[in-house]
């Protein structure tokens, strides 16, 4: 059942890519959208099949592949991957919808998007480290090409930078995965065969370092973030939507799945530093966003800041904070996708993203009133205004993290205030006031162009009012992940752990002392 998700998209990529004759952009979009919708519907079917009470992997599929390497084709789904899978299915549909129907080389473009989606889906489903890595690397190639071919003026630079960074990310992750298997003398790369708790803390820290750097680049966290603003600015709107909406989540998913979950002792040891790292990411991202005059760059830096919340919550590793991680991933996926879609429409209609040029776009007749209204909704959601999904996720993150890292949490909360600052700057400059002379005669925005954004806006409102519909899928999985003896040790000070550096079962002692 899970394989259908991957193979349906691979089939779609093949059908569009190898279509026997030249086809119009419209037809290519229709075919790929059909496959994307089928994929999304299948995801919804899986959601119905999914038992939210169970905490472990469900609907698992395992096939031997290359036994000598310890690589098997093992898929599964749990409360951590399910929301991201649904998000991916939705965003792929919306990205295809928002693609220009007159795009150059449509067969190649749409097949790459479906290939990208297949890679992301596979990565979320993989229950084997090597299989995850293969899917993780698989999505890099289409993404690189999508930026390099259909990007803006400096697309070559941005795509190459993205490739170099993510190549390093891949190397770090692969090194850690190999280390995990070899050092733990595991028989395969299968997640269920890995028993890393017996490894000394120093070894675990080393392995976790690779994971943090690898996925830290992908998220991205300071100082590995510099590829992101360039990639966003140069990527076309649908690619930015996918990049911010789902691809960055591969990084946070990897951190939770392979960092926090597999190396809990080291995670607990590093947690205070991770929280500090999160604070730096949040504040630096927000500060950089304030300084931007390019709307897209501002939203990109906003992503850097908001992904920091996920690291903070993951570092705290309380049931509530990790639930906040999942919520923030979904929330950020929806909000950032919405913001990038809207910035894309603004750019398409005005030819500019410059906040020094754009003014008064909320003008009800000559401006972009619906786009502007959704932008206001999006920035409010991003700034954590109650009633929208951004508030729920950030509140859970802060509420869950505060008992463990009160100072870091409070500092991160400043980031929420700064989000309001830079997004108010954006809205105030670009949307309020009198329409500037440069954009006084804008073409009309068609419903087909703003419907994807409208869907996201409605979801942001819906999950803001009814977050339980999102939360209850993940709660048992999160509880099972967090209620391990290892992670409960997170709340202890690093000093205690330092003293027991060579005692791998320190966490158990601390756990016992809790009760």
């Amino acid at each position: 059942m899970l394989s259908t998700l991957i193979f349906l998209q691979l089939l779609g990529a093949a059908v569009v890519g190898f279509y026997p004759s030249a086809i119009s952009g419209k037809l290519a979009r229709f075919i790929s959208l059909s496959f994307a919708i089928a994929n999304f519907l299948w995801t919804v079917f899986l959601v119905i099949q999914f038992n939210p009470v169970e905490s472990g992997q469900q609907l698992t599929e395992t096939l031997p592949w290359i036994d000598a390497l310890g690589l098997n084709y093992s898929l599964g789904i749990d409360g951590l991957s399910l929301p991201l899978l649904v998000l991916n299915g939705l965003l792929i549909c919306l990205a295809i919808c928002s693609s220009d129907q007159d795009i150059q080389r449509p067969k190649f473009y749409y097949s790459l998007i479906l290939l990208l989606s297949a890679g992301v889906t596979g990565a979320f489903l993989a229950q084997n480290l090597l299989l995850f890595f293969l899917f993780y690397e698989l999505e890099l190639i289409p993404l690189y090409l999508l930026i390099a071919i259909w990007g803006g003026q400096k697309r070559g630079y941005a795509a190459t930078k993205f490739l170099i960074y993510t190549a390093f990310s891949g190397i770090a992750i692969l090194a850690s995965f190999l280390g995990m298997v070899w050092l733990s003398r595991s028989s395969s790369f299968s997640l269920e065969d890995l028993h890393l708790s017996a490894l000394p803390l120093t070894t675990q820290l080393l392995l976790l370092g690779g994971i943090l750097v690898g996925f830290g680049i992908k998220i991205p966290l300071i100082p590995f973030h510099t590829w992101l603003p360039d990639a966003h600015v140069e990527a076309s709107t649908p690619i930015s939507v996918l990049l911010a909406g789902i691809l960055l989540k591969l990084g946070t998913y990897g951190l939770l799945r392979f960092g926090m979950n597999l190396l809990p002792t080291a995670w607990a040891y590093l947690a205070p530093w991770l929280a500090v790292w999160a604070v730096i990411s949040v504040l630096y991202g927000a500060s950089c966003a304030i300084a931007q005059t390019d709307m897209k760059k501002m939203v990109a830096y906003s992503s850097v800041g908001h992904m920091g919340y996920i690291l903070l919550a993951a570092a705290a590793a309380t049931p509530l904070s990790v639930l906040g991680c999942v919520m923030q991933m979904v929330s950020h996926g929806l909000i950032s996708a919405l913001l990038f879609l809207l910035v894309g429409i603004v750019y398409k209609k005005t030819g500019s993203r410059d906040l020094e040029v754009l003014r008064g776009l909320l003008n009800p007749q000559r401006g972009l009133p619906i786009v502007g209204s959704m932008m206001i909704l999006g920035v409010m959601a991003s700034a954590g205004t109650p009633g929208m999904v951004g508030f729920i996720s950030e509140f859970i993150v802060f509420r869950g993290s505060f008992p463990v890292f009160p100072v870091q949490t409070l500092l991160s909360m400043i980031g929420t205030g700064l989000t309001a600052v830079y997004f108010l700057i954006l809205v105030n400059r670009a949307f309020f006031g009198r329409l500037s002379a440069q954009v006084i005669d804008l073409p009309r925005v068609y419903w087909s162009e703003q419907t994807p954004a409208l869907i996201l806006a409605l979801l942001i409102l819906f999950f803001g009012i009814q977050p339980n519909w999102l939360i209850h899928w993940s709660q048992p999985t999160i509880a099972a992940m967090v209620y391990t003896p290892n992670l409960l040790a997170t709340s202890s000070s690093g000093k205690d752990l330092q003293q027991n550096l060579e005692t791998p079962d320190i966490h158990i002692k601390i756990h016992q002392s809790h009760f």
Binding site: N363, Q365, R434
Partner: protein, 376 residues
């Protein structure tokens, strides 16, 4: 010190003065402009007709009514009309009242002067006494606050004055449209000439206002006062609505405490000729209401142009406002030329000089207007 802006303004001033002296209009002559101006004036003429009828109805039948709930119904109150009114599928008669209040506020002309005279006050008190002869409470209140009801009658007189003015203007604009349809109007100067001719031919029309109480007719603005169309309603209207306007009642408002409003009302520049069509509403009288009314009566040839524009009907109100502003500059041209101290084609040098000075005065007032924008 002469700044670049001053030089530019002077240059433009000279250019437009020369244009007027040679018989051209403030709006440049082009086929598109002719079509836009005539088309918009046709819809404006229809709307003005409705405004005029309602103003006259209010003046004659709703005077000294404390709660004129159905003043916009012209005496025809029915459930159907009431629901239509609440649903807002109707003419925005409020716009006419905004214009009226603007006129009252700025004053000027013989009508305003007469309404401040003792003669009017005497008539007003007599009318009030007749109207409320069986109402001791109102009579006592009138004794205590004699200005209150008198002021209400002044407002009624303005209702009537503006109604009569718009009656004439509506006929002129509809006549213009008919002539255009017959192929007799092909240029902007012809439009200006026709409006000017209409203004001049009606210039001495008497402005009168009488009401009936218990079968007895009361002359509030008697013919003997000598109020006439052009100097006592048309000129004050142009001054109040086209030029000065009001720095409030719009989307953009101005802060008097921050010295954003000139202390001298004569220096106000919030009128229709200065209004920015982009922020729908702008300062002064909200043009939105008028634009909404005119959109129902656009002739097909003009509506087609709007539909085929870049935004289609998305920005219809702005497009109407832009066309309306063009047409108002034509009316202003007609007014300016009509008010010249000497004929435009005079050969007398001193008369030409006086004309030129007169035109320069007008053009100085238009320096901050939308004159350049409409000619782009």
């Amino acid at each position: 010190m002469l700044t670049t802006q001053d030089k530019l303004s002077n240059y433009l001033l000279i250019e437009f003065v020369q244009r007027l002296q040679t018989g051209e209009a403030l709006l440049k002559d082009s086929t598109e402009n002719v079509l836009e101006v005539v088309g918009i004036l046709k819809s404006y003429g229809i709307v003005l007709d409705a405004y005029s009828q309602n103003l006259m109805y209010i003046a004659e039948h709703q005077f000294l009514q404390f709660f004129p709930f159905f003043k916009y119904f012209n005496g025809d109150v029915s459930w159907k009309k009431l629901f239509r009114h609440i649903w807002h599928n109707r003419i925005n008669f409020e716009y006419a009242e905004y214009c009226l209040k603007s006129m009252m506020w700025h004053g000027g002309g013989g009508l305003d002067a007469y309404l401040d005279s003792n003669e009017f006050q005497a008539i007003a008190q007599a009318v009030i006494a007749a109207k409320f002869k069986n109402n001791p409470l109102v009579n006592i209140l009138n004794q205590l606050f004699p200005d209150a009801l008198t002021e209400q009658l002044r407002v009624s007189a303005y209702y009537s004055g503006l109604g009569q003015f718009w009656r004439v203007m509506s006929d002129i604009f509809l006549d213009l449209s008919d002539r255009y349809d017959q192929g007799k109007i092909t240029s902007i100067p012809q439009i200006v000439d026709l409006i000017k001719a209409g203004l001049v031919s009606n210039a001495l029309n008497p402005i009168t206002y009488s009401i009936k109480i218990d079968g007895k007719v009361w002359e509030i603005l008697p013919k003997s006062v000598g109020l006439t169309f052009l100097p006592d309603t048309a000129v004050p209207y142009v001054e109040a609505v086209f030029f000065r306007g009001t720095p409030f009642l719009g989307v953009v408002s101005y802060n008097a405490q921050a010295y954003q409003i000139p202390p001298d009302q004569s220096r106000f520049q919030y009128g229709a000729l200065y209004a920015d069509p982009l922020p729908i509403g702008s300062a002064g009288i909200p043009p939105t209401l008028l634009m909404q009314d005119m959109r129902h009566y656009l002739p097909e040839y003009l509506h087609k142009i709007y539909r085929n524009s870049r935004r289609g009907e998305d920005d219809l109100l702005i497009q109407i406002c832009l066309s309306f502003q063009k047409s108002m500059f034509c009316v202003t041209t007609a007014t300016i030329l009509g008010l010249l101290p000497y004929p435009l084609d005079t050969q007398d040098i001193s008369e030409q000089q006086a004309n030129r000075m007169n035109l320069e005065k007008w053009m100085k007032r238009l320096q901050n207007s939308q004159l350049l924008e409409i000619n782009k």
